[in-house]
Symmetry: none
Subunit: 191 residues, 4 copies
DNA sequence: AATGAATGAGATTTCATTCAT
DNA sequence: CATGAATGAAATCTCATTCAT
């Protein structure tokens, strides 16, 4: 692992635990087992470390989704794979998910001059899958596409957050993925 | 308005704009039109100001929900009123909603020794309405109650966030409330 | 003395002793008997402290020269009074003179966005006296006015520097002023 | 050019532009096209680089003056050649002159344990020429030798500085040398 | 000899908090 | 109660210097 990646990994761990604002550059350095100053060889500032963390990880996530979804044609299949992939990724790197859940949300507000294009691209993947499924007649025609997208994203994101913040490991994320899929497909209420 | 409330109102505005960590006590004082030191007459510390803000506002919100929901018997009616009340409150105080959306989420992480009971109580209102509806046979029996609650809460919360962050006022929050209700009741997919 | 002036006085002492670059903000604070942070209430940065020091002192110096020279008509008289005033001021505040001799010279080079107008105004006082004397036929007509001004300014400035840097107090500054006047008026060589 | 000389040349350029304190060792290394660490093979520290720069250059300057002045007997001739040599050297290496003008002046203040003997020797050359001329009856007998020396040195040094800092190249240094000679020999005022 | 990544001491600056008025 | 100047601990960031390669 390159030293840059080492620092990012340490930052994910530290930011996940204490939040970006409460983390000290020194915390990250200690977590990485390097000197404080070394971080400034690879990143211009603490803010730049967070942004770089976002962009680097987003690139991976984005590619991963694209790779998994590209071979699929059936929109229902895509939706299923999307949900699986989403929850799997959360499971594979819980700390990263924690940073994204909390810090990414407010990044646009607090990081000057940072227009979070990578995150927008990522959200569009989800949006595209849902849009596509809707256009192929899978979702109810009366629904506003934009609200539908937000509704689904919010629902699964909150489920993911529950698991992320569940420090006692009571929750089964695979089960959650299946339930989410079931709720989306079969609806919530008895018809 | 008492000076305490004045400070809380100023804090809501400032924290909404810049986030808690990036806000200075001086910013809040200036927004309130008072001296820095005055804040320390009413609050023990900056952290205490945030916690007090949460608790004070939570009390209002909690009472408001209880008041609206108490007279109702029909769980479907309750669900509808709950959604209406939820989106109305967001609309009535966008800045407060913004603070809650972002800061409340991470509050457990950086506020030492603060177990956010008021927020848990508030979530339980939502949970109770949903549980009640489920137990009365309104929601599908196969669904895990805990996941259902989280799914719905996440969905509407994300819709609310879209409106909160929509600086161009393109979105109609009343429409969003109706759509959310529709999605929950009629499901997303064509049966 | 205002706290601002107290800090400037401390800065003069510290900068004179160690030079601006080698002086720490903490040194100035300790010299002033205040906390480090207090300096930042009155000055934006260490650079700003130096610039403010220049401007504040320059204003005094400028006014002082103008006051002394205004009532005079005779250019020779002006020149004499100018020289007296110049050396007197150096004697009255040796440390300030030291800062000006060394730090002011390089300030334009190292302080970003600082065009040292006050120093230019001050130099013009000397220049004007010399120009005036020249135009009234006091100095030799063949001499280039600009070079003449620089020649005289350099000569007296170097004499002042000798005294400033003379830590053993062997030199008599009043005598130096008289000698300078004599050299200028009677020339250096035997006619 | 040896690597040591290469580094000194780079240092002259960098120090002239930004001043010693504001120059980073890295700047010098980049200017020289070498690695940071290489500088430490040839010089013990950043301070040592400045001192070595002074001493090396001083040796050249000293030898140069001695060489030019040794064959001459007539003190007036010596004075003339001295002035010519002085201004020529300034012209030949403007950046070096810039470093000497500013950094040499304050070197005693921030370089620990450095008694700048080479500079004193160099000043003595000027002093000796002037003293000699004075003793041979060229300068007025009433003048204090020490002040005379300082007066002349300051005058020509300031003239040199004007040219060094004249970024628009409006000044003619050869003309300045002649004028200085004229002012010294013929005096400033109309007899 | 040359490199340049890494170090870490130390500098500037910030800001929550106090307290004399 | 209210003020806001003052504090000083602590944070970010810099950079001269080292040393394994």
């Amino acid at each position: 692992m390159s030293k840059r990646d080492l620092i990012i990994a340490a930052a994910v761990k530290v930011f996940a635990e204490k939040g970006f604002c409460n983390s000290k550059v020194r915390d990250v350095a200690q977590q990485a087992g390097i000197a404080d100053g070394t971080i400034y060889i690879y990143f211009k500032s603490k803010d730049d470390l967070l942004i770089s963390l976002f962009e680097t990880k987003m690139d991976h996530i984005y590619s991963h989704f694209v790779e998994r979804l590209r071979p699929l044609k059936n929109p229902v299949e895509k939706l299923k794979v999307f949900l699986e992939t989403y929850f799997n990724m959360i499971r594979e790197d819980r700390e990263l998910a924690e940073v994204f859940q909390v810090e990414l949300r407010q990044s646009s507000k607090f990081l000057k001059d940072y227009h979070n294009q990578k995150f927008i691209d990522y959200l569009n993947i989800i949006g595209d899958v849902i849009n596509e499924a809707k256009m192929q007649g899978f979702f109810r025609d009366e629904l506003n596409t934009n609200f539908l997208k937000v509704f689904i994203f919010g629902a699964i994101d909150e489920m993911a957050r529950q698991w992320i913040l569940d420090r006692e490991d009571k929750l089964d994320i695979n089960l959650m993925a299946r339930e989410a899929y079931d709720m989306i497909l079969k609806g919530l209420v008895i018809p």
